[in-house]
Amino acid sequence: MEIILSLAIGILAGSGMWLMMRPRTFQVITGLCLMSYAVNIFIFAMGRLTVGQPPIMPKGGFVNPQIYADPVPQALVLTAIVISFATTALFLVVMIASRGVTGTDHVDGSERK
C-alpha cells in the first residue's frame, strides 16, 4: 500500500508542479489543486497508514493509542482542505480580474515576446 500511495503522491505532485510552471492561469490553478491533493495526502501519510481504525474513541475505559490512526495529521489536513479551497477561490478571482484588466490569461499579464 505504501508504495502505491507514494507513487500517487509523486504523480499528483509532479503533474501539479508541471502545470504550475505553465504560462496560462487556468493551468496554474489546476496545478495548485493537484498540488494541494498531493500535499494533503503527504501530510496525512506522515501519520502512517492505518486501515479500519479511525480515531473514534470508546466512551471511557482504557485507550491504547497504538492501534488508532494518528489524529494530528488528520486535524491538520482537515483545516488545510478548507483553506486550500479559500486560496483556490482567491486565485480564481485574481485570475479573472487580471484577465479583465490585461486582456490576457498569461500569468505575467502580457504574452511572451
Partner: protein, 962 residues
C-alpha cells in the same frame, strides 16, 4: 524605592506627553506647548529631587522586569554625569518649547511637532539613563529615527526631506555599528549591564577583539556627533525648523556621540589607538568645521559648522583623556549647549523677523532690534571665547590640556598649534556673525521689515545668555560642584576636587587665547570682503563637497547596483520564480533528507490491496490527463481534476480518516462549482497556437517536465521512506487518551479542532473570512475582458423557450433537495463531536444546499425568495466563536477553555453538549458565510454583465429611434 519610581516616571513622562500631544487638535498651539512644557518641568523637578543622593556620589538604579524568563529587564541608572546631561536636555527642552510656541506658524500642524519633540526627549533621556548597553543602542537608534521625523517636519520642502534622509542614513548606520560594538564588548565582559561593562575596562582593552569593537564604537559616536568625514549630515539637517535645530544641535542629538565617548572612556580609553583615532578625528573636525564656518553665508549654516567644530573640540578632549581633559569635555558640553542654543534661537529670530538668513543681505540690524542684537553678541562672544563668559573658561581648559599634556607623539606636539589656529578661526567667524548681521549700513531690500520679536520669544535667549554670564563670572559657585560630581562618576570617586577659576595667571593657555583672538581679528579684518564676495565655502575646498560624494555613493548603492543585480539575478516573471522554488526544494530535499532516511530500517508495511492499486491507476490517469488537457480543453481538465479529488477522498476513507473523506468530498463539490463559474470569464482557446510548436517552446516544456518529474519522484521517495519507518510516539497519543475525558467527545479529530487546538481553528476561520471579503471586494470593481462580456455562446444559439426549460428536471430535484440537505447539515453538525462530521462539513453541506438553488433557478428568482446575508453569517460566526472562547473568562479559565457534558433529550437520547459546540456553531457561521459569499460574488458577475448588456441595448435602441 521612591527614587526608583521617580526614575521610571522620568523616562516615561516624555513618551506619555508625546502620545497626548499627538491626540490634540491641529491648531492647539498653546495647549500642546503647555502640556509639553509642563511634562518637561515635571522631569526637571524629579532631577532636582534626585540631586541630593547623586551629589553624594551615589548611583541610583531602577529595574523594571520586562521578560524575566529571558533575564531581560529594563535597567535604568543615574549617576552624576547622566544627571548633568539629563538636566541639560530637559532645561534646554523647556526653553525650546517656549520658543517654538511663538516661532511656529499658525498653519503648522503643532501636535505632530510637539509629539515628535517629546518623543525625542524621551528617547534621549532613555539613552542617557540606560543601564543596559543593548537598551542604550535601542534608544540610540530611536533618537536617530525621531530626529529624522523632526528634521523632515516641513516635509513639503525638498531640502528638509533630503536633510532628514541623509541624517537618518548616516546616524542610523552608525547606530548599527554601535550595536555591533555593544554586542562584542557585552560578550567580552560577560554581561550587558552597564555597571559590569564599565568595570571590565582592562579586560576589554586586552581582548583581541578590542580594535574591531573600538572602531565600531567610534563609528557610532562619530556619525552621531557629526565628526569628519561624517559631518555633512548636520548642515543638511538645518532645513528643520529652528527650534528643532537649537534642540538637536546644541544639547541633544549631536551631544549623544560625545556623551558616549565620555561614558565609555573607562572602557575603551587610554590606549594609543584611542588617542590617535579620537583626538585626530576631533582636531580634524575642529579645523575643518571652523574653516568652513567662516565661509558660510547662511546664518544657520555658519552655526551648523561651528557646532561641528565645537564637537570636534570636545572629541579631541575625550581623546586626550586626562582627568583635566575629561572635566573640560564635560564642561564644554554644557557651555556649548547653552551658547549654541541661544545663538540658534537668535538666528531664528532674525530669520523670522527679517525673512532671510543670508549674511550678505543682512546688515545693521542692531539699530532695529537692539535687544536681540545684544543677546546674540554676548552669545557669540561666549562662542569665540571672550573672557568673563562661559566659553572662555572651557576653551582655556582645552588650550591648557593641548599645551600641558604630553605623550610625546607628533600629534601631541602639534596640538597647541592646531588648537590656537582653530581658536583664531572661531574668533573670526564669531566676528563675522556679529559684524555682518548687526553692524554696518542699514540693510536694503529685505523680504520683511525687521523689528523686535514678541518678548516671550526672546525670553529663552535672555535666560540662556544670563547663564553664559553667570557661569563665566562665577564658575566656582555655579557649575563647579556639579562638574566635579559628573567627572567623579565617570573617572572614579578617588578623583580630587577640581577648582574652576577664571584667572590662572599669565600662563600658556592665556597666551594662546590672546594670540587666537588677535589672529582671528586680523583674519576677519583682512578677508571680510573677499569672504562675502566668494562662494559658499572655503576657496578650492568648496568644490569638494562631502554631501556630493555621499549622494553619488547613495545613487550607486540604492539605485544602480540593485538594478544591476536585479537584471543579473532577478525576474518579474512568475514561471522562472516557481521553477527556482521547485528546484531549490528538490535540492534541499535531496541534501537534507536523502542521507538521513536511509539510516533507519524499514519496519512497517501494510499488505497491498489490488483494488487500491487499480483505484490509483485511475487516479494517476486523471491527474496526468488534467495536466495534459488544461490548456486547450479546460472543461475536460476540470472533470479529470474532480476525478483525482474523488480518489483522494476515497483514500482518506480507506486509511481511517472519515472526517477528511467527508470534508474532501464536500469541498470538492464546491471547488468544482467555483471553477465552473470561473471558466466563463476565460478566453476561447480551441485552436493550436503556432508559437507553441517552436523548438524553444518545446525545449521549455521538456525542461519543466524534467523538473516536475524529478520533484515528483523525490516527493514520492520521501513519502515512501517516511511511511515505512516506525511512528515515534507523539502528542497524538495524548489527544487519543484524553479526548473523551478532557474534551468530552469521542471523535478525536473534531475534539482537536474545536477544543484542544481551538485557537488555531479560530485563526483559520478568520483567514477564511478575510479571503471571502477579499474576493468580494475584488469583484466589486471587476470589469470583464471585452470578449467575455457578451452572452455566452450557448445562450446565443438557443431561443427563449429552450432557455426557459433548461435543466428542468434536475432543477426540480435540486429544489426538493434543499430541506434534505439542511437536515443533513444539522445531522453532521450534531454528531460531529462523537462521530465523523463537525462544523466544517456541516457548513459546506449547507453551502451546497444554497448553491444548488442558485444552479436550479435564475439568480433573480432565487433571491426574491431566499435572503442570504453572507457577510452577517461571517460576522456572527466569528463573534459566536470568539464569545464562546471568552465565556471561559467568566469562570476564570483561559481563552477557549471548553466544558463538556451530555444532555438527555427526550426521544433523541444522550446528546453531547460541550461548550465547544457553541464554538463549532461559530465555525459553521464563518464557513457558510465566506463560501457562499465567494460563490455568489462570482455568480453575480454574469448577472451584472447581463444587466450592463441590457442597458447598452436599450441605449442603442433609443439612438436608433431618434
Amino acid at each position: 524605592m521612591i527614587e526608583q519610581n521617580l526614575i521610571l516616571i522620568l523616562v516615561l513622562l516624555p513618551f506619555i506627553a508625546a502620545v497626548v500631544a499627538a491626540t490634540l487638535p491641529v491648531n492647539a498651539h498653546s495647549a500642546a506647548a503647555w502640556m509639553s512644557g509642563l511634562s518637561l518641568v515635571g522631569g526637571l523637578a524629579i532631577m532636582i529631587a534626585l540631586y541630593e543622593p547623586i551629589s553624594g556620589g551615589m548611583t541610583l538604579r531602577a529595574t523594571q522586569p520586562w521578560i524575566p524568563s529571558l533575564m531581560l529587564n529594563l535597567n535604568f541608572r543615574v549617576d552624576g554625569f547622566a544627571w548633568l546631561f539629563v538636566t541639560l536636555v530637559l532645561s534646554i527642552g523647556i526653553l525650546v518649547v517656549l520658543y517654538a510656541r511663538y516661532y511656529l506658524d499658525k498653519s503648522d500642524p503643532v501636535p505632530r511637532f510637539y509629539s515628535f519633540l517629546m518623543a525625542f526627549t524621551g528617547a534621549m533621556v532613555g539613552m542617557l539613563l540606560s543601564g543596559n548597553i543593548l537598551m542604550l543602542a535601542v534608544f540610540w537608534e530611536l533618537t536617530s529615527i525621531i530626529s529624522f521625523l523632526l528634521i523632515g517636519y516641513w516635509y513639503q520642502n525638498p531640502a528638509a526631506r533630503d536633510g532628514a534622509r541623509t541624517a537618518l542614513t548616516i546616524t542610523a548606520g552608525g547606530g548599527i555599528c554601535l550595536l555591533a560594538s555593544m554586542l562584542i564588548i557585552g560578550q567580552i565582559a560577560g554581561s550587558y549591564n552597564l555597571d559590569v561593562v564599565l568595570a571590565s575596562g582592562a579586560k576589554i582593552r586586552d581582548h583581541w577583539l578590542y580594535m574591531p569593537a573600538l572602531i565600531l564604537f567610534l563609528l557610532g559616536a562619530f556619525t552621531k556627533s557629526a565628526q569628519f568625514p561624517f559631518h555633512f549630515w548636520l548642515p543638511g539637517a538645518m532645513a528643520a525648523p529652528t527650534p528643532v535645530s537649537s534642540f538637536l544641535h546644541s544639547a541633544t542629538m549631536v551631544k549623544a556621540g560625545v556623551f558616549l565617548l565620555v561614558r565609555f572612556f573607562p572602557v575603551f580609553g587610554g590606549t594609543e589607538a584611542w588617542f590617535y583615532l579620537v583626538t585626530g578625528t576631533g582636531m580634524m573636525t575642529l579645523l575643518v568645521g571652523s574653516t568652513i564656518a567662516l565661509f558660510r553665508h547662511d546664518l544657520k549654516g555658519l552655526l551648523a559648522y561651528s557646532t561641528i567644530s565645537n564637537l570636534g573640540l570636545i572629541t579631541a578632549l575625550c581623546g586626550i583623556g586626562s582627568t583635566g581633559a575629561i572635566l573640560a569635555a564635560i564642561f564644554h558640553i554644557v557651555n556649548h549647549a547653552v551658547f549654541k542654543a541661544s545663538l540658534f534661537m537668535a538666528a531664528g529670530i532674525v530669520d523670522h523677523e527679517a525673512g532671510t538668513r543670508d549674511m550678505r543681505k543682512l546688515s545693521g540690524l542692531w539699530k532695529l532690534m537692539p535687544f536681540t542684537g545684544s543677546l546674540a553678541i554676548i552669545a557669540s562672544a561666549a562662542m569665540a571665547g571672550v573672557p568673563l563668559l562661559n566659553g572662555f573658561i572651557s576653551k582655556e581648559m582645552f588650550f591648557a590640556e593641548a599645551a600641558d599634556w604630553h605623550n610625546g607623539s607628533w600629534l601631541d606636539n602639534a596640538l597647541p598649534w592646531l588648537a590656537t589656529l582653530a581658536g583664531a578661526l572661531t574668533v573670526a567667524y564669531s566676528l563675522r556673525f556679529i559684524l555682518s548681521v548687526f553692524f554696518g549700513p542699514k540693510a536694503e531690500g529685505l523680504p520683511k521689515k525687521p523689528h523686535e520679536p514678541i518678548h516671550w520669544m526672546r525670553r529663552p535667549v535672555e535666560l540662556l545668555v544670563l547663564i553664559c554670564l553667570l557661569i563665566g563670572l562665577f564658575p566656582g559657585q555655579t557649575v563647579e560642584p556639579v562638574l566635579n560630581v559628573a567627572a567623579r562618576s565617570v573617572l572614579g570617586s578617588a578623583l580630587p576636587e577640581a577648582h574652576i577659576v577664571i584667572w590662572h595667571g599669565f600662563n600658556t593657555a592665556l597666551q594662546m587665547s590672546l594670540i587666537a583672538m588677535a589672529l582671528g581679528g586680523a583674519l576677519y579684518y583682512l578677508f571680510a570682503d573677499k569672504i562675502a564676495a566668494g562662494p559658499e565655502g572655503p576657496p578650492l575646498l568648496h568644490r569638494i563637497r562631502a554631501q556630493r560624494l555621499y549622494e553619488m555613493l547613495m545613487l550607486k548603492i540604492s539605485w544602480k547596483y540593485p538594478r544591476l543585480l536585479h537584471k543579473l539575478l532577478g525576474t518579474d516573471k512568475l514561471q522562472p520564480q516557481l521553477r527556482m522554488i521547485f528546484m531549490l526544494g528538490l535540492a534541499t530535499g535531496v541534501l537534507v533528507l536523502g542521507v538521513a532516511l536511509w539510516n533507519v530500517p524499514a519496519s512497517r508495511t501494510t499488505p497491498l490491496n489490488p483494488a487500491f492499486a487499480v483505484m490509483w491507476a485511475l487516479g494517476a490517469a486523471c491527474a496526468l490527463g488534467a495536466a495534459w488537457q488544461a490548456k486547450y480543453h479546460r472543461f475536460a481538465s476540470l472533470i479529470l481534476l474532480g476525478g483525482a479529488g474523488l480518489i483522494t477522498c476515497v483514500t482518506f476513507a480507506w486509511f481511517s480518516a472519515p472526517d477528511l473523506a467527508v470534508t474532501q468530498l464536500l469541498v470538492e463539490v464546491v471547488t468544482t462549482v467555483l471553477l465552473l463559474l470561473g471558466l466563463r470569464w476565460l478566453p476561447k482557446r480551441n485552436e493550436e497556437i503556432i508559437e507553441d510548436q517552436t523548438l524553444a517552446a518545446r525545449a521549455r516544456r521538456t525542461r519543466d517536465l524534467i523538473v516536475a518529474i524529478l520533484s515528483g519522484a523525490g516527493l514520492a521517495a520521501m513519502a515512501y521512506f517516511i511511511m515505512t519507518r516506525p511512528l515515534t510516539p507523539n502528542i497524538g497519543d495524548w489527544f487519543l487518551r484524553n479526548a473523551y475525558y478532557e474534551g468530552g467527545g469521542t471523535n478525536v479529530v473534531n475534539v482537536i479542532l474545536v477544543d484542544f487546538r481551538a485557537f488555531d481553528t479560530f485563526g483559520e476561520i478568520t483567514v477564511l473570512c478575510i479571503v471571502g471579503l477579499t474576493v468580494f471586494a475584488l469583484l466589486r470593481r471587476f470589469r470583464p475582458s471585452s470578449d467575455s462580456a457578451g452572452k455566452p455562446e450557448q445562450q446565443r444559439q438557443k431561443d427563449d423557450i429552450a432557455l426557459r426549460d433548461y435543466l428542468f428536471v434536475p432543477s426540480v430535484i435540486m429544489r426538493w433537495m434543499y430541506p434534505v440537505l439542511i437536515l443533513m447539515a444539522c445531522y453532521l453538525f450534531f454528531r460531529g463531536h462523537d462521530l465523523p462530521g463537525g462544523g466544517f462539513s456541516a457548513a459546506v453541506t449547507f453551502s451546497i444546499a444554497l448553491l444548488l438553488q442558485y444552479m436550479a433557478s435564475n439568480v433573480r428568482w432565487i433571491e426574491m425568495r431566499i435572503t442570504i446575508l453572507p457577510i452577517r453569517w461571517m460576522g456572527f460566526g466569528l463573534l459566536i466563536a470568539g464569545a464562546s472562547g471568552m465565556g471561559a473568562f467568566l469562570f476564570g479559565y483561559p481563552f477557549l477553555t471548553a466544558h463538556a457534558r451530555y444532555v438527555d433529550i427526550p426521544f433523541i437520547g444522550d446528546v453531547p453538549m460541550a461548550t465547544a459546540m457553541i464554538f463549532d456553531a461559530g465555525v459553521v457561521g464563518a464557513v457558510v458565510g465566506s463560501v457562499v459569499l465567494m460563490l455568489i460574488a462570482i455568480a453575480h458577475q454574469s448577472l451584472r454583465s447581463a444587466r450592463l448588456r441590457e442597458q447598452e441595448e436599450a441605449a442603442t435602441e433609443e439612438k436608433e429611434a431618434q
